[in-house]
């Protein structure tokens, strides 16, 4: 039975994959194919949206369980649950017209709390990166490490709007235009090839990540 289920899952995945591929390649001219492909894509989008709801419910359930059992860190769970309820209530009241204003309270919360905190955390990365680069040579000095540091400094200093750094600016422009662009194109080509390979593997049943 288990094997039958796996085979059925593979057959469904391959069948719908081929169906969608044909529909997308043939375009609206294919009529039914294209219509069904569109429906399938919409189902996939709806499924993704539903998965977000499921994820939210699961998150609330996990934290509720932790709060109920007084496990370690239950205080944070309580804070999360209260925040969720607060935001839901605020947005509901805004939609009902009970509270209003411009900007809305929920927008103020988002801008003042979430954006501020996340931006501050992102700013800490600047300190961490500088400190990491500062200590990079502590353990081992290598030619590649020196090259990396020189390029890094050239990029940083070349972006400074200071007089007398025209040469560094030229170096920076060249680095961004030639090596970085070449590397970026290589990465994008790799991504494209990997996407094609993955798609083919799924279509021929070699990659069955949907199975149990």
């Amino acid at each position: 039975m288990r094997r039958l289920n796996a085979a059925a899952a593979a057959a469904v995945a391959i069948g719908f994959g081929l169906f969608t591929l044909v529909g997308l390649l043939s375009g609206p001219e294919s009529g039914l194919f294209y219509a069904l492909t569109t429906v399938l894509l919409q189902v996939a989008a709806v499924t993704a949206a539903a998965s977000i709801l499921i994820g939210i419910l699961n998150l609330l359930s996990v934290h509720w369980t932790r709060l109920k059992d007084r496990r370690k860190g239950w205080g944070y769970s309580l804070l999360l649950l209260l925040s969720t309820l607060l935001v839901l209530a605020l947005v509901a009241l805004e939609r009902l017209g009970v509270v209003g204003g411009s900007p809305t309270p929920s927008s103020i919360l988002f801008e003042s709390v979430q954006v501020s905190i996340e931006s501050a955390l992102a700013g800490v990365v600047f300190f961490a990166l500088v400190y990491g680069a500062y200590r990079m040579m502590r353990r081992r000095v290598s030619g590649a490490g020196i090259l990396f540091t020189v390029v890094l400094l050239a990029l940083l200093l070349g972006s400074l709007p200071l007089p007398g750094l025209g040469l560094l600016a030229s170096v920076r422009d060249w680095l961004a235009a030639v090596p970085v662009s070449a590397g970026a194109r290589g990465i994008l080509l790799g991504i494209a090839l990997a996407t094609v390979v993955t798609g083919v593997r799924v279509l021929i049943g070699q990659d069955r990540s949907y199975r149990e």
Partner: protein, 1146 residues
């Protein structure tokens, strides 16, 4: 000479031949020559050169130390009267062809005379033999010349002496040891380097000469950021490499020769009672286990070869009967594949291993350091076991050992006494194996060949072939053992060991279980050094309840108490034994197992507990824990103190580094907000370079017409808000000022909120509302569409079903948009934090729609986004694809918007939005004081001579319906004596509001641009200039080269000359400028008048809105980057200098 003990030297090691010589000499020759024979010299008549001539070319590999012997062998007289070698080896043949005349028989060493006699029927001269060899000779018959075994049959450490060896001769011209040869001893590994086995040393030598490959040269940049991994902790499953696989071994799977060390199988009384209770015959477990032995697959010849060699070690002397009986009983014929490795035998005999323990044999110069029994020919000095060995033929095929059942219990007791010397002796029923067992030869050899394997810790008691058990168990001996074990220097030989052993620094590294634990404990990282997260994990692990024993084991123990140790859970599978630690059972044996499981009421399918491994058994050994604690107490205290000091130092350093760097960076990015003196550097230009992607982006939105729909995707979260909010703000301002209607979407839920917040800020900006001419209203001026779920698939659905996706706003209301494809939008803009979002939008939306994409991305996403946005890329439909990057472009974009934004406050009652016509950017502005400026859509003047084209050829004046006709022709200007200046710089320069860098820039000039100079400061450091569009500003004198006054017509200024209070010299009269401007300014057409009222205000008069503290932020970023560069540079230089100093010290 047998080849069995030949060892193959690794290639590329010239020292190896010398080592081999000693090794072979000791291990392969029964007629081991005493030291005095080593100094034997050939016949005095033969010149030494003759010997040395053939030696390098003809001597066998590794025969440097056997030169004396080989010399003599080469000169031996044969029956045919020619010098020859006693074997058929090619090198002996070659030696015979070039050998010198044979030495006189009187010159033969006594022991070689005896050897010569072995080949001939003549009896050896008894007097010439060493006493100990004389006995051996009497006990054994001369063995036939053995056939060299196949090389593949030899263990690796015994393989091969067949390689060519190049090295200096052993004997110099004077007959003494060659100086060159002796000098090479310095290249040998230091004997005092304890714990360094021969293989390790050889690996180091190979690594020293090996050319590193590319992967090793490639640095792991993340390595610099990684903390060192903690050492494997005992009991956590992180075992050293050599121990891998030991966990799977089962004590019950041990071969019989090892199992014989345990007491004979007996059922406990309780078990017997159970059998009687169930009226079952009492099983004879001894007999039950027999098939395990009998049906074991016979060993292959390769596997049996070491056993063959060891078979020659069979002792005959009654004095050795204890160990001999133990070994003999442990190797029945069917179990030869399970024989221990020769190393174990050496370990059991208390001798150093041939791999490392006989290092002195590898030291030619240290021949005098050999033990007495080795160097002295007297038999009394040699150990008894060696006397026995000397009489054996090591190459003889092994004889099936005869088990001696009656001796097994005694042997087991002896072994138990030896192993439990430092701990209470376990009882017969409680005895547990303390050593790992191996069920096949491969696993045994694999463990032997592992580089981490150290030789066992030899003890004085083990060195004694006849240990006195009573003395071992006496209190004084136990105290001495405990005292020795408490000594931190674990790997050193015992203090009371032989002097030569200690002097040679014999590697007696730890290998016993206790030593393993000791080493693990020494290397274990103190808990305090772990980071907080790991400490918390450790604490949680401590709080976890102990795992309950599995059912089968408990049930078995309950039903058959005591039987657990005999049928301990063993991985059972059918088939032949393999390399795994599992026990392979035949079908008959499986039936018995099934029967026993039935008796024990154990489900066959029940997963059983992991069998106890050798490590587990070691951990569980009684008394071991206490012994280890006592042993490790001083070491642990010392290590703890050192670790605490190291941690304190590390914390001090980390704190200082972190504090200083963080403080410096924080000050660098914040001080420019408060200290104007720290606002270094130029502000970003106020215009994009001509032909740049930034300009293309600006023009893409500047083409929007009233009522157009612009699709704007806000694909970023809070982490990118600081960089991208400004860009989204500028783009939305521009689109709204053009009268277009932005439709905002996002596949990121937070992106929708960000877009809403930006629109809220715009709605709250009175200046923008004044520019727009009405309140910003959702639905009428913009549409906020719901979140697009599904990421890439969601984009695909959005692109294919645009009408459905756009039907609902983020507030859940109907948008009223009737769109069918993305091509219906006049422009598609994406503000993205990640390059993946740009790629997804290009692939799923813009490419099918055929619309160009304007992308505003963060600095991090720019490199991967650029390939999609270059000319000719899929995103560049229609010939242009705009791209804006980061805060710098946001700043410039806002400056451009300021330049074109109207300063008049329109009537809020106006129905139609006041728009900025795109044509205005290309129209020379009238020289009216109230509407004086043109929109600098391409404010950067082009090269001289192309200014006009740049000003008038800008976009599509003819494409816009209803737009005013482009102005053609350049107004004539009166011939005035004007001074022009040429911008002499490598890059664009700023024209500022005042004569200092602290003034805001009003325009940017490309290199080579010409401007009219109308004034200067008193110190002539700044010039006041007038641009082509009539704007005025100040430019640094360093960046401007004055040209001769020309009377040729110049472009007319478009605004009245405004005397700047900073200017002390006016180079052009205001009256002349005004006149020229009036003459040059064309009257706008009537239809132009309507739109000209919306002409932008001069940049100087528009306050900087939209980006709070935009200049301060820029200066903060500039100083922060400068500080970061300085810190990184200093750290790198310091590290390099420190590394150089450290290398010099080493």
């Amino acid at each position: 000479m047998s080849d069995e003990f030949q060892r193959r030297p690794p290639p590329g090691h010239p020292e190896e031949p010398d080592d081999e010589a000693f090794f072979n000499w000791e291990m392969a020759d029964d007629e081991s020559p005493p030291e005095d024979e080593l100094s034997w010299e050939p016949a005095g008549d033969e010149p030494p050169d003759a010997e040395l001539d053939w030696q390098p070319a003809l001597a066998p590999p590794g025969a440097a130390s056997m030169d004396a012997v080989l010399d003599w062998l080469a000169n031996l007289p044969q029956e045919d009267g020619e010098a020859g070698a006693p074997t058929e080896e090619p090198w002996f043949d070659a030696a015979s062809s070039a050998a010198p005349p044979p030495p006189p028989a009187d010159d033969l060493p006594p022991w070689l005379k005896q050897a010569d006699a072995l080949e001939e029927p003549a009896a050896p001269a008894e007097d010439d033999l060493p006493p100990w060899l004389r006995e051996a000779d009497a006990a054994t018959e001369p063995a036939p010349t053995p056939e060299p075994p196949p090389a593949e049959a030899l263990p690796p450490w015994l393989a091969g002496l067949d390689e060519e060896i190049v090295g200096p001769p052993l004997v110099s011209d004077t007959g003494e040891l060659s100086e060159d040869w002796l000098a090479r001893a310095e290249q040998l590994p230091a004997t005092g380097d304890l714990g360094l086995t021969y293989d390790e040393w050889m690996a180091r030598q190979e690594a020293a000469v090996r050319v590193p490959d590319v992967d090793e040269e490639t640095p792991d940049l993340s390595e610099a950021f990684d903390e060192p991994l903690p050492e494997p902790t005992p009991g956590t499953g992180e075992l050293p490499a050599w121990a891998l696989g030991l966990e799977e071994l089962d004590a019950s799977a041990a071969p019989d020769w090892l199992r014989e060390e345990t007491p004979s199988v007996r059922l406990p009384a309780e078990t017997k009672d159970r059998f009687e209770e169930f009226n079952l015959p009492e099983p004879a477990l001894d007999a039950w286990f027999e098939p395990f032995d009998a049906e074991t697959a016979p060993p292959t010849p390769e596997e049996a070869r070491p056993a063959d060699v060891l078979a020659g070690l069979e002792p005959e002397s009654p004095a050795q009967s204890d160990w001999a009986a133990l070994i003999d009983s442990a190797q029945p014929e069917a179990e030869t594949a399970s024989m221990p490795a020769p190393q174990d035998i050496f370990e059991e005999l208390g001798l150093p291993s041939p791999e490392t323990g006989y290092d002195f044999l590898d030291q030619p110069a240290a021949a005098s350091a050999a033990p007495e029994w080795f160097t002295e020919p007297e038999a009394a000095a040699a150990p008894e076991w060696l006397e026995e060995l000397s009489g054996l033929d090591l190459t003889a095929p092994p004889e099936p050992a005869q088990p001696e059942p009656e001796a097994a219990p005694a042997d087991a007791d002896l072994l138990a006494a030896l192993r439990g010397a430092a701990a209470p002796e376990p009882g017969p029923e409680e005895f547990e194996l303390l050593e790992p067992s191996f069920d096949d030869l491969d696993s045994l050899l694999a463990s032997y060949e592992a580089p981490e394997v150290r030789l066992p810790t030899t003890d004085r008691n083990l060195l004694d072939p006849n240990p006195d058990i009573d003395r071992l168990l006496s209190d004084s001996e136990l105290e001495q053992i405990a005292a020795r074990r408490s000594t931190p220097s674990g790997p050193t030989p015992p203090d009371d060991s032989l002097d030569w052993l200690r002097e040679m620094g014999v590697s007696v590294g730890p290998v016993s279980a206790a030593a393993i634990l000791r080493r693990q404990a020494e290397n274990e990282r103190p808990l305090e050094e772990l980071n907080e997260r790991l400490q918390q994990l450790h604490q949680r692990g401590q709080e976890l309840p102990p795992p309950a024993d599995s059912g089968p084991s408990d049930a078995l123990q309950t039903l058959l108490p005591g039987i657990k140790q005999f049928i301990a859970p063993t991985p059972v599978r059918a088939g032949l034994p393999g390399l795994s630690g599992e026990l392979a059972l035949s079908p008959q044996q499986l039936e018995k197992v099934s029967l026993l499981r039935t008796l024990a009421a154990v489900e066959a399918e029940t997963p059983r507990a992991q069998p106890p491994s050798a490590i587990d058994l070691t951990y569980e050994a009684r008394g071991l824990e206490e012994a280890l604690e006592a042993e490790l107490e001083p070491v642990a205290a010392e290590a703890e103190a050192a670790a605490a000091a190291a941690t304190a130092r590390q914390r001090r350093r980390l704190k200082l580094d972190h504090l200083l760097i963080s403080l410096a960076l924080a000050l660098a990015v914040t001080l420019p907000f408060f200290v104007s003196a720290l606002r270094i550097g130029d502000l970003p230009p106020v215009a994009f370079a001509a032909g740049s992607r930034q300009e293309a982006a600006f023009e893409g939105l500047n083409r929007l017409r009233p009522g157009d729909l612009a699709l704007v995707a806000a694909e970023y979260g809070p982490t990118g808000a600081g960089e991208l909010d400004g860009l989204l703000d500028a783009l939305l301002r521009h689109a709204l000022l053009r009268g277009a209607r932005p439709v905002l979407v996002s596949t990121n839920p937070l992106g929708v909120l960000h877009a809403q917040n930006v629109l809220n800020r715009l709605a709250g900006d009175p200046t923008f509302i004044a520019q727009l001419g009405r309140e910003l209203q959702s639905g009428r001026d913009y549409v906020m569409v719901r979140y697009l779920a599904g990421s890439t698939i969601g984009l695909r659905v959005f692109s294919r079903n645009l009408g459905t996706a756009l039907a609902t706003s983020s507030a859940g209301t109907a948008t009223g948009l009737a769109m069918t494809t993305a091509g219906d939008f006049a422009a598609i803009v994406i503000v993205a934090e990640r390059a993946e979002d740009v790629r997804a939008w290009i692939e799923q939306v813009t490419t099918p729609s055929g619309k160009p994409l304007i992308a505003a991305v963060s600095q991090a996403a720019a490199p991967l986004s650029e390939p999609y946005l270059l000319p000719g890329s899929p995103a560049a439909h229609g010939g242009f694809a705009g791209m804006l990057v980061g805060y710098r472009d946001a700043y410039t974009y806002r400056a451009l918007l300021q330049a074109i934004a109207p300063d008049t406050t329109p009537s809020l009652e106006s129905e139609a939005p006041r728009v900025i016509p795109s044509e205005a950017t290309a129209t020379p502005a009238p020289s009216d004081a109230t509407t004086p400026q043109t929109a600098p859509s391409t404010p950067a003047p082009a090269e001289p001579g192309t200014d006009e084209a740049a000003a008038t050829g800008l976009p599509d004046a003819t494409e816009t319906a209803g737009s005013p006709a482009p102005i053609t022709g350049t107004p004539e200007a009166p011939a005035l004596p004007v001074i022009t200046g040429l911008v002499a710089a490598d890059s664009a320069v700023n024209v500022r509001e005042g004569p200092a860098r602290t003034f805001a820039p009003v325009a940017a000039l490309q290199p080579g641009s010409r401007v009219q100079v109308i004034g200067r400061t008193a110190d002539s450091q700044w010039y006041q200039v007038r641009l082509q569009d009539g704007r005025e500003g100040w430019i640094s004198a360093e960046l401007l080269t004055l040209e001769e006054p020309a009377a040729t017509p110049t472009p007319a200024p478009t605004s009245s000359a405004r005397r700047d209070a900073n200017a002390v010299v006016s180079l052009i009269s205001d009256a002349g400028l005004e006149r020229a401007a009036q003459e040059a300014t064309p009257e706008p057409a009537p239809e132009q008048q309507d739109e000209m009222v919306a002409e932008p205000t001069p940049a100087q008069t528009v306050p900087a809105v939209g980006i709070a503290y935009r200049d301060e932020r820029w200066y903060g970023m500039t100083l922060g980057i400068l500080a970061a560069s300085a810190i990184i540079g200093l750290g790198t230089v310091g590290s390099i200098i420190g590394s150089l100093f450290r290398g010099r010290r080493r």
